[in-house]
Amino acid sequence: MTISSESIDLHAVKSALKKEQNKILWRQIMTNGSLFVGFVIIAFLILVALFGPLLMKHDPNTMDVLKRFAAPSADHWFGTDNLGRDVLARVIYGTRISMGIGVAVAIIASMSGLIVGIYSSYYKWLDHLLMRLSDGIMAFPGLLLALALMAALGGQASNVVIAVSIVATPYIARVVRSEALALKEQTFVEATRALGASDSRIIWQHIAPNTLSSLIVQATFIFAEAIIVEAALSFLGAGIPPPAPSWGNILSDGKTYIYKAWWMTFFPGMTITLAIIGLNLFGDGLRDLLDPHVSKAKK
């Protein structure tokens, strides 16, 4: 009958429309310069972290006293340090450690921030408690608090993750909470309540998925922040215990010889800069893509 033929036509129109929309989305991704550049940088660093150590000819911890302070050359691209260790090897291993800590902090802080934010948006008494606690944490400069936590917990890679996650959690919680506060007043939440859904079902099934886009954007910035804080902690000698080559440790080793061997600080410093620029560009691009309100306002 007419209806069936119409619905087939409609379907064709619909799939064409979907293709068109995918094309537009793809174009948005490709023309979004910061997203693209950021993504390339992050992807490169992740590949280095995963596969770099396999391709290297030097061990990051093997000392070669005869080759102390060797300037960058074909054999040692980034030169060698005060103990004759290959700086490139150390930077590449450091990528694994620093990016690993960044990812771990981003994931842990996102999860704890999601839990804190979403529950404090939903229960008023918890809101007062958790948000005052967050205010307390946010009142400290992040690095100082992380330093104090490291002093209390002891210098270990896992403790760095814990300390930085504690510092970062309120920043995620704030974003999730504000998003969830608006969502909770939406009619669909009321409608779900009218269906007899329990609080926890509403919170996890209906509010949480809707906060994800802001959460992801915030998490990329936390990722960048975690790398900086970790580097700073290691630089100050309160982070990853040496001789493990985190970026901060390499910098710290080099600082004494900055006039004698510039490459010991220059290359790890540039790597940190690259990672932070990449993550921030990626985060900005992601926000433009996921949050149409901001990008519209810009145009």
């Binding site: 009619t187 669909f188 409608a191 009218a194 269906l195 007899g196 859904a197 329990s198 998925p209």
Partner: protein, 341 residues
Amino acid sequence: MNGATMDNEPILKVDKLKTSFKTERGKVTAVDGVSFDLLKGEILGIVGESGCGKSATAQSILRLYDEKQAIHEGEIWFEGKELLSLRPPEMDKVRGNDISMIFQDPLSSLNPVFTIGNQIAEAILIHKSISKREAYARVLELLRLTGIPAPEKRINEYPHELSGGMRQRVMIAMALACESKIMIADEPTTALDVTIQAQIMSMIVELNQKLDMGVILITHDLGVVAEVCTRVVVMYLGQVVEEADVENLFTRPLHPYTQGLMKSIPQLDCDRSKPLLVIEGTVPSLHQIPEGCRFATRCPFADDLCRSKMPPLEQYAPGQRARCWHAETISKKGEAIRAWT
């Protein structure tokens, strides 16, 4: 008449329901002593202008307000249970399962990040322990029941891919998911255009007859009321001012407010040079409720008695109650019509 089997046995009994909210300016009573019965299989209309407490009444029945801010008094009886005294987990079992609700704006009533199939299935799975596959079979059945074409395709679509009318059908499908005994429809067609309104309303009537489900229809559209409802409750400023069978209400309204509402409906054969009747003034704020009859500030018949003493809701004819000191005289003399025009 479109009422199904009339057992005259109330399935829901609302008795002196009072809902107040704590606000910065003190306690505000949005619903003040509302009583009515919903009979089995009937469509009961609740009408009144914006802010008269009709939606608040509906939300109070399901206890959807945050109970730290809202205070409920009175009683709501459903199947031997007093809803206002149920503990929250027990109330969760009533919501959606025994009494379901559809809302005004079907777009914002659906979660944008899930497919509609997912959401309807959820409505079932909250209350029934059946497998996902069985739930999906039921979802298809519900989509067919609510007249959604090509349900196998629609089931995987997101709310933004559907039109307003379709979304409201999805909401109705969710409300029907657990074969609830009562459906509360809070202005179900306000956000839709007129042709779709008619389709949705006739579907609600059809489902009411087919499933013998009690419906509370909240609306400000008297045309819809005349067409669909069996009985009507008219509300003004948190109170019931008149309750009547639909014919009585339209042929012999007793309360001046109801009369005013009737008079302000445009008629096809009316004199177009004359402006439509307007009920003068605005609804007083809930913070400054007048003493005496609440409608007295806007009523053309108001006298000193009205302004000093609140009239009781009294029975004037079989099945017709009104809250007015002068109901008898006004309706008899046909004075109303003259005073309003």
